[in-house]
Each structure stands twice: as structure tokens, then as C-alpha cells.
């Protein structure tokens, strides 16, 4: 049996409120708060990027895994905001963790599901016994164009998972992938901000794939919503995952522990993986967890985990996700935000 040996999260401490963004654009903050169920989002500091956040999250995962980093045979970083177009993020991460040089590394991109893609591959290599441990990270410092609806949600964060066959905190019982060519969100080379298909991103994109993958993996496992203690869906806004849960018959009690988006925003490749770290933080041995990611373009990955006894030993070896979300926050205004996100630059 293969599964998660250690997990870790990282969320930057800067926050900007929906009202602050809406004020600048003359937009109606209450309608964003009500319509998208968003309150505030995380913002990376100027010296933070997908690589630094991956390192932070991975170190937290290593603390819980308690393994020698040189036993990690594969490192995958999933992101749509890799700092370099050409030059891997994974090599920096592997080096920073002291996992080099005997390690296979790749950067992955699949909009918001690059994180679970890495998890899928790392898990598969572990299951095939090709590597002893495999590390997968979902991390993003995602950007929304100024004034676009995405600006209210595009946030920063990272989640890391080390997969292995021993010392498991959660066994992976089933995986499932559901993919079609559905272009609902994209960014071409040399474009700074992504474009999206507006309402097309809803029913034919997010819901079709999330529901397809959730139903598919439950059918494969012979399970129903009531068989799970917790469920995590990709969280582009507050409303979508709740609606998906409602359609499938999950309760708020099952969804809420991993539902971070109202206070976190959409961390893209880190979104559903952070929902999982947050859920593992409170899970008990034996709990069943369903995770369904979503990436525009489009596809969903599904995972079914069963939490083991070891969770109680490792939980407090690294910061809890909710603590990073709720404590030590630093609220910034739009001017500072614009500078941090390089929307404005100091004259040379």
C-alpha cells in the first residue's frame, strides 16, 4: 500500500480584502462577497515565488515525514507561475531540500490541477517501486488582470506531499482522472495575465469535470458521499465547491475543514492540495477523504485517502494550515499590493 508519508503547507502572511480591490475599481464589493463568497486573499511578498513557497511547504512535509531527503527519488512542482519559462523550479527545490543529485525532477503545468498531477505521478512511481519516496508540490503566486474578476481570487500558497510505502499517514485507496479538451481559461506565451471564458468556466468546465471525476472515482471505489468523513474540491471561489458538494450530496460538515477559499483566495495549483493539508490537520485515524482537483483546459484528478494512526504523531510536527491562514496576518492596501505583484514598478 502506498500513500502520504508527510504533508506540509505554506501560506504567505500578506492579505488584501475584497473591499480594498473593489474600492479601486469602483466595483460592488458586497456582490463579490455574496456572489463568489470571497472575503480576502493571500498575497506573496516581493521576494516570494512558487519556488520559495514550494521549499517552505516541502520542509514542513519533511518534518512530518521524518525521512532522509536523499531518499526522495522524484520531485515534481506543479504550478502555472513557475518563475522561469525555461529552467526548472524543481531543481532549486530539490537542491534546497538536499535531495540532489539522485532524483528525477519535473515541472508540471495544468492550470489549477498541476499540483495533483504531481501527486498522481509521484504516487505512481512509488506504487511501481521505481523510487522509495516521491515529493509533489502544488504552488502558485497566481495573477489576475487588474480589475478582472480573477483579481479578487488569485492568491498565493503551496502544499507538499511526500509519497511512500511505509510510515504512511494516509493510504491512497483509489485514483481517477477525468480529462477533456475544454478551453475555459488560458494564458499564451508572453502574456502576463490569463484570459477566461466568463460563464463558460462554470457548468461545461468546472462542474462537468469535478462532478465527472467525483462520480467516476466513487463508482470505481463502490463508495457514496456518506462513506467519507471529508471531501475537498478545487476552490476557484467559495461558491463552486459548495455547489458541487450540494449536487453530489455532501454536507457542509464534510466540506468545511478543507474549504479555505473565502479567507485564502484561489491558490491555483495549491488550492485543493491546501484543502487536503487543512483536512489532514484535523482528521482522525480511519477517516476517509475524497479529493477532487480541477484544472482548466480541462481535467480533474480524484484521490481517495484513508487516514492512519500515524496522523496523531505527525500532525503537530509542522505548522497547521488553519494557523497559517488565520494568524499573523498582515493586511495591505491596493498600492502595496500593486507594488508586490509588480503591477507598478519603481522608475530605474
Amino acid at each position: 500500500m502506498a500513500g502520504i508519508v508527510g504533508y506540509g503547507a505554506y501560506i504567505p502572511r500578506n492579505r488584501i480584502k475584497v473591499e480594498e480591490i473593489a474600492k479601486v475599481w469602483g466595483a460592488d464589493a458586497p456582490s463579490y462577497k455574496k456572489g463568489l463568497m470571497l472575503e480576502e486573499k493571500s498575497v506573496p511578498s516581493p521576494d516570494q515565488d512558487t519556488i520559495t513557497m514550494s521549499v517552505e511547504a516541502s520542509k514542513n512535509a519533511l518534518r512530518r515525514a521524518g525521512i532522509d531527503p536523499r531518499e526522495i527519488g522524484a520531485v515534481y512542482v506543479g504550478s502555472e507561475s513557475h518563475p522561469y519559462a525555461v529552467k526548472p523550479s524543481g531543481t532549486v527545490l530539490a537542491e534546497a531540500l538536499n535531495a540532489t543529485p539522485e532524483v528525477h525532477t519535473a515541472d508540471l503545468e495544468f492550470a489549477c490541477k498541476a499540483g495533483t498531477e504531481g501527486m498522481f505521478i509521484a504516487l505512481s512511481l512509488v506504487q511501481a517501486a521505481a523510487v522509495k519516496y516521491g515529493l509533489a508540490v502544488g504552488a502558485d503566486t497566481s495573477q489576475g488582470a487588474p480589475g478582472d474578476a480573477l483579481e479578487y481570487s488569485a492568491a498565493a500558497g503551496a502544499a507538499a506531499f511526500i509519497f511512500g510505502r511505509d510510515k504512511l499517514v494516509a493510504e491512497t485507496l483509489h485514483t481517477y482522472s477525468y480529462t477533456t479538451d475544454t478551453p475555459d481559461f488560458w494564458r499564451r506565451e508572453y502574456q502576463y495575465y490569463p484570459q477566461h471564458g466568463g460563464r463558460f468556466t462554470g457548468d461545461p468546465a468546472y462542474f462537468s469535470h469535478i462532478l465527472g471525476a467525483a462520480r467516476g472515482i466513487m463508482a470505481k471505489a463502490g463508495m457514496k458521499p456518506a462513506d467519507f468523513q471529508y471531501v475537498i474540491f478545487h476552490q476557484p471561489n467559495g461558491k463552486f465547491p459548495l455547489r458541487a458538494g450540494e449536487i453530489l450530496g455532501f454536507s457542509r460538515n464534510q466540506i468545511d475543514p478543507g474549504w479555505l477559499v473565502p479567507k485564502l483566495g484561489n491558490t491555483y495549483s495549491g488550492s485543493s492540495p491546501l484543502g487536503l493539508t487543512s483536512t489532514l490537520d484535523i482528521a482522525k485515524p480511519g477517516d476517509m477523504i475524497l479529493l477532487v482537483s480541477y484544472g482548466s483546459g480541462a481535467g480533474s484528478d480524484g484521490f481517495i485517502f484513508r487516514v492512519t494512526e500515524r496522523i496523531d504523531e505527525v500532525r503537530n510536527l509542522a505548522p497547521l494550515t488553519r494557523d497559517m491562514l488565520d494568524r499573523n496576518k498582515n493586511y495591505i492596501d491596493y498600492g502595496v499590493y500593486a507594488k508586490y505583484r509588480r503591477k507598478i514598478r519603481k522608475a530605474e
Binding site: 460592488d28 466568463g198 460563464r199 457548468d203
Partner: protein, 384 residues
């Protein structure tokens, strides 16, 4: 002129039809209309479509659609008059049959609006305004109708709540129409709290962006009788134009083209407005319906808001307006709207409108409008 009858109607579910193309939604509705009429051979085809060029990059539409309907080499024409393209297509079909030029004419309307972004759709729709005097200055249709609303409120004391009541009524009706894009009810409070688009208009005052098509089959009334079909005759047909630019109008709170087109259609049919049992009108914005009920003479000038408040235009009122749910709830695929209005009236006059049926309806009127009233087309329909 020969008497003209509608012998077939066809319309499929409207909405954001991501998985269907323009030609598909047109052919689906056209085939339903031909099946309903029980005819296969048509002499001619007229299609109303406002802006397939900007919405899907396709012109030369009439030939394309006759091809995909399997009707080549039938003569086919595409008619454009902004949001009244469908109504104008119906008028052209009517004239063609009435004149004796053709016997069986298929009239369709279609618009595929969701293949572009919201901004592109707003631009495409904006081409129905005067580009030099309105568009280039940043005006879009919500803005233009907002100014008309403010003028009407200022002149006649029409209230914000009265505007909301139009949306409430039409969504009430639309909730009984399975083909409607938004078949759900809304409340006055819900409308007043919805997102502000152009003060005083909120999102629930506006008709949506819709993919959809509708079709009717026309033929001489004598032929219809021989075919033993329920004969719904088109007894009145009126059209009028006005300045496209709102700034050139004498009165911002009055739609003159609708008034004239209505008068012409009623005169042709020999009916008075009080003889009409139901109305399908162009409520692209809530204020539009209020102003149209005045322009058609259903109520006196300035009384449109009050009339909604008093329930005069509700399904069970004396003059039911938009039993289908109107553009507001049924949706507004601009080129299809005028034809869909005819589909609803024929359904009502045949007694086939199920939950929203107006009992004993014998005469119905459609009013379809382009832009802020730069064009209006009115038809009167009568059951035998």
C-alpha cells in the same frame, strides 16, 4: 393581398448552449416548425439574425442555413434590423406570401451569442446604436435604456419598484415556460439588490445573453384550411423606423416607432388595442416594457409603471404582457426574439400554452424592437 396563416411553429430550449453551433440550433427549430406544419417543401426562406459576423464570424447566413436544413436551392434571404431582425424577417415572409410570390415560406430567427466574451458581445450589441454619436462615446445599451428610465421616472414619477415588478412578472410567467433560459421566479427585493449595471438599471432589469433560435411556417390562409391545420392568421403587420441615436429623439420617455408600427398593424387588422387578448413585447430592459405598453396604447402615456403595479399586464390581468416570460426570463438571442414572440402567440391562440395559457385567447400582438426604438415591428395574429 392574400390572407396569410401560420401553420407551423418550432423552438427549442434557449440558454447558454455551449455544445451547439449556430447552424445546429437553427436547424433544430426549423425542423420542428416544418414537422409541426406537416410540410417538407418550402418555396422560400427568410432568416432574421443581427450579427452572426461579430458573434461567430459567419456571414452569408441564408445560404448556409438553407444548406444545413437540406433546402438548397430554395431562395433564402437574411434580414437584419438589430434586435428586431426576427420581427422583420416575419414581415418579409408575410409580404412574400401575401403578395402571391411564394406559397410556403419558412421564417426563422437565430443568434449564437455565447461564443464570444461578455465584452465582445456588448460591442456586437452596441453596433445597434449610432456608433458615431453614441458608441464612440462609450454608450452601451444598458446605459441608453438607463437614460430612458431616468427620463420616464422624472417625467411620470415611475418608481424603481415598478421597474422591478416587470422583472418579477416576467420571471413568474417564464417559470411556467420550459423553453425559457431562466425559468425561475425573482422577487422585488431580489431585483433591487442585484448588481447595479447602469443606474437605475440592475442586472435583473436586463435581458440576458442567449443562444437560441425559433421558426414559423407561413402559407396562404386558403391553403392552410385545405391542410386542415389550426389556422392562425396574421391580420396586421406594421413597421416603423426612427432615429437610431437617442439624442435625436423628441422625447426620451416615448418610443415613437413602436407607436406608429402598432397603429399600422392594428389599422390593417381592423382591430383596436382593447380587442387584443395577449401581448408579446420587447422587454430587453424592464423600462422598455413599461414604455412599450404606453406606445402601443395598452395604457395611457406615463401609466406603464402603474399598470404593472396594478396587475393589469400580469398573466391573469386584463392585458397580459409577455406570458412567455418575455426577453427577460425566456432569453434574448437578438435575431430570434421576434420570431419566438410569434411562436408564443400562436401557441396561445391554439390553446397549447399549458400552465401559462390565457383562457380563450383569440387575438395576440407581437412587438419587436431594434436598439432603443430605431426600428419597431408589430404583428397582429388571430385565431379563426
Amino acid at each position: 393581398m392574400r390572407d396569410v396563416a401560420v401553420i407551423g411553429i418550432g423552438m427549442t430550449k434557449w440558454g447558454e448552449l455551449w455544445k451547439k453551433s449556430l447552424r445546429t440550433i437553427f436547424v433544430e427549430s426549423a425542423l420542428l416548425a416544418l414537422d409541426d406544419a406537416g410540410v417538407d417543401k418550402i418555396d422560400s426562406m427568410v432568416v432574421g439574425c443581427m450579427s452572426s459576423g461579430l458573434f461567430v464570424g459567419q456571414e452569408h447566413l441564408a445560404s448556409l442555413l438553407s444548406d444545413y436544413l437540406g433546402k438548397n436551392p430554395v431562395p433564402a434571404a437574411r434580414v437584419e434590423s438589430a434586435c428586431s431582425s426576427g420581427g422583420l424577417a416575419l414581415r418579409q415572409g408575410f409580404i412574400e406570401v401575401a403578395s402571391g410570390m411564394s406559397d410556403v415560406v419558412l421564417v426563422g430567427g437565430v443568434e449564437k451569442m455565447t461564443d464570444v466574451t461578455g465584452c465582445e458581445a456588448t460591442f456586437a450589441l452596441g453596433t445597434a446604436a449610432d456608433q458615431e454619436y453614441e458608441g464612440f462615446h462609450g454608450l452601451t445599451f444598458p446605459g441608453l435604456y438607463a437614460m430612458m428610465a431616468v427620463a420616464h421616472m422624472h417625467k411620470y414619477g415611475t418608481t424603481r419598484e415598478q421597474l422591478a415588478l416587470v422583472a418579477v412578472k416576467n420571471h413568474d410567467n417564464g417559470s411556467k415556460n420550459p423553453l425559457a433560459q431562466y425559468p425561475f421566479k425573482v422577487t422585488v427585493e431580489g431585483v433591487l439588490q442585484s448588481v447595479l449595471v447602469a443606474d437605475p438599471l440592475r442586472i435583473l432589469d436586463c435581458s440576458p445573453i442567449t443562444d437560441g433560435a425559433a421558426a414559423v411556417v407561413l402559407c396562404p390562409a386558403d391553403m392552410a384550411k385545405k391542410m386542415k391545420k389550426p389556422v392562425i392568421r396574421i391580420t396586421g403587420c406594421g413597421q416603423a423606423t426612427d432615429t437610431i441615436a437617442l439624442s435625436s429623439r423628441k422625447d426620451l420617455a416615448w418610443i415613437e416607432s413602436t407607436h406608429i408600427a402598432g397603429q399600422k398593424a392594428l389599422a390593417m387588422s381592423g382591430r383596436k388595442i382593447g380587442d387584443i387578448d395577449l401581448f408579446e413585447v420587447h422587454d430587453c430592459f424592464t423600462i422598455a416594457e413599461i414604455m412599450i405598453t404606453e406606445a402601443l396604447g395598452i395604457v395611457e402615456k406615463g401609466r406603464g409603471g402603474k399598470a404593472v403595479e396594478e396587475g393589469l399586464t400580469s398573466l391573469k390581468g386584463k392585458f397580459p404582457v409577455n406570458p412567455s416570460g418575455g426577453l427577460k426570463a425566456k432569453g434574448h438571442p437578438v435575431g430570434a426574439t421576434g420570431v419566438a414572440q410569434a411562436v408564443e402567440v400562436v401557441k396561445q391562440l391554439r390553446g397549447e400554452a399549458a400552465e401559462r395559457q390565457i383562457k380563450g385567447a383569440k387575438r395576440g400582438l407581437t412587438q419587436n424592437m431594434g436598439g432603443t426604438g430605431g426600428s419597431s415591428v408589430v404583428h397582429v395574429f388571430e385565431a379563426e
